[in-house]
Subunit: 334 residues, 2 copies
């Protein structure tokens, strides 16, 4: 009997606050371009007061991946913490409206923190710099993990960013045990090179013991294996993980699996905002995996989905990804 | 001595919740296409639960106009009611970040209503249908009108939509008296044909006694003067108002002023979402007025600003409007 869920994601639940900035603004405010930096509420308020008019769109790395998968018709759920406040309701609505289940209990209205938000600053070169106030997202505990749901998932998808926070490692361990115990598989995304620096030991342990599918980009994988040589990093990863899917920006993605090496070329697109490229790569790749496509087709589906997301502002898909797969003749591949 | 403000707008303060819908969704949910319908919180919750993933962008008709003017460097302020909640803070931030003053006291956190929101449903043909929960926006009272601010404005700009609500007429009367008493001028936008039906008598009285500049589209003006003939409606309006600026969709705008009639051709643009077209027409037109341009140039500036806003999702400008005016050789006109 097939399981209720094909992919259940666990991650940081944030609403993205997108604005355009000059590079000088980043420099003046000590913001490192291209990466994600955690900030507290005071810093968030200070930065927000200085930035221009913004657009709010639900975000969160794993939540973006699950939204993309749900838009493709996959059976999905998402686990993450938002509060019973306006932004929390927006976040929940946007996942459910896309067709994903989302049943994590809301943090109560009297919780001292708010729903998390990520200030996404998009530069003229379309690179994004993220400053994240985690808010209640940080307070996901093992109690929020529904073991029955994890057991009813073919795959769970763990967001590296979610390793920040007091009870997150225990929550992930509970999810992994329930999923693997019922024959499910585990995937992990490394999220960000600085995130890798913060959690290398925990990532290494999880990779050795539990991870069947690793998502990363070249910078994250090199940080993980402490090398400047991507080929070496890929070899080291492939030696301990069944499948490694590593994006390499405009050069597409490498997929190393079962002793074989594939290179999926990127599709040419007009780049507007790179926010969510990795998240939607994972959506497309996973869609290939759960529909039993070959590794190269999985990688190309990832590239097409990433290409859609970087062609507009925001990290949730606007176009029908399945139509885009069809246009690239990917749906016929098995 | 020049006044502190060139234009001060008063209107409904809402955050737009934008989503794409099928025409069948509008039909199934009894939504009238192309107009603004007021809804209560229950209906808002019901509709929101049924609509797809959304994007949140600050809106409000007069607020959009003021944001557009502020982006052009005009000295502006906005008056309208939001609550001390997350959406209220977003609304306030986006105006101030654009350079407009916004000092209306927030409704307190224990107010039973929330910050208003407008569900903007964009159809495949790019037409928008709006369902507005006014929330605390309805509770703007004469106490919220700072007479010193109104006296320090060359122009006040009154949003027709804001005639809904218990104390709004008294608030407008107080603003008009303070502005006119200090030698300022009054402009009004008719907002929507159904809004005209609801408030025709109040609009007529204000037009006869106080309005120096009227913004409208063809449907609103015909509703106002209860005729199907736009030329007749324009003649009747021009007989009692110094300047009438009437948009006519893809045909641009008519400007009747001081016994003269002008037709400003629309600029050709790719239409993505018509939300805010009238609001930004008013921004562009007003920019011409406050910089002493001729009536045709004012109309063309209005068309260019409207053209920018309909080329993307959301009713706040993304491009630099002054650059667009320059490209159309409008800045040299006096």
């Amino acid at each position: 009997m097939s399981k209720k869920y094909q992919v259940v994601g666990i991650g940081n639940s944030v609403v993205d606050v997108l604005s355009h900035v000059e590079d000088s603004f980043l420099a003046e405010n000590g913001i490192t371009k291209g990466v994600m930096t955690l900030i507290d509420l005071d810093r968030a308020a200070d930065l927000y007061a200085k930035t221009g008019p913004s657009t709010e769109i639900s975000g969160g790395s794993a939540a973006n991946t699950i939204a993309g998968l749900a838009s493709l018709g996959a059976k999905t759920a998402y686990v993450g913490k938002v509060k019973d406040d306006q932004l929390g309701h927006i976040f929940a609505h946007d996942l459910r409206a896309q067709g994903a289940d989302f049943d994590t209990p809301l943090a109560p209205a009297d919780h001292p923190a708010e729903t998390g938000r990520c200030m996404v600053m998009v530069s003229a070169d379309h690179e994004r710099s993220m400053n994240t106030y985690l808010g209640v997202s940080e307070f996901l505990t093992p109690d929020d993990i529904d073991v029955a749901q994890m057991a009813d998932a073919d795959w769970i998808y763990l967001e590296g960013y979610r390793f920040d926070g007091p009870d997150s490692h225990a929550a992930f361990a509970k999810a992994i045990e329930a999923c693997k115990g019922a024959g499910g598989k585990v995937s992990l995304t490394l999220s960000d090179p600085f995130c890798v620096e913060r959690h290398r030991d925990a990532f290494r342990e999880m990779i050795r013991n539990d991870v069947d599918l690793l998502f990363c980009n070249e910078h994250e994988l090199c940080a993980m294996y402490e090398t400047d040589d991507l080929t070496i990093a890929l070899r080291l990863a492939a030696a301990e993980i069944e499948t490694v899917a590593c994006t390499v920006g405009a050069k597409g993605a490498y997929v190393w699996t079962g002793g074989e090496e594939f290179h999926a070329e990127a599709t040419a697109v007009h780049i507007e905002d790179v926010t969510g490229a990795g998240d939607l790569f994972a959506s497309g790749f996973f869609y290939g995996v759960i529909t039993n496509r070959d590794p190269l087709t999985c990688g190309r589906m990832g590239n097409v989905a990433a290409g859609e997301i970087i062609s507009h502002i925001g990290a949730r898909p606007e176009a029908d990804l399945k139509v885009l797969f069809e246009q690239e003749n990917l749906l016929q591949n098995r």
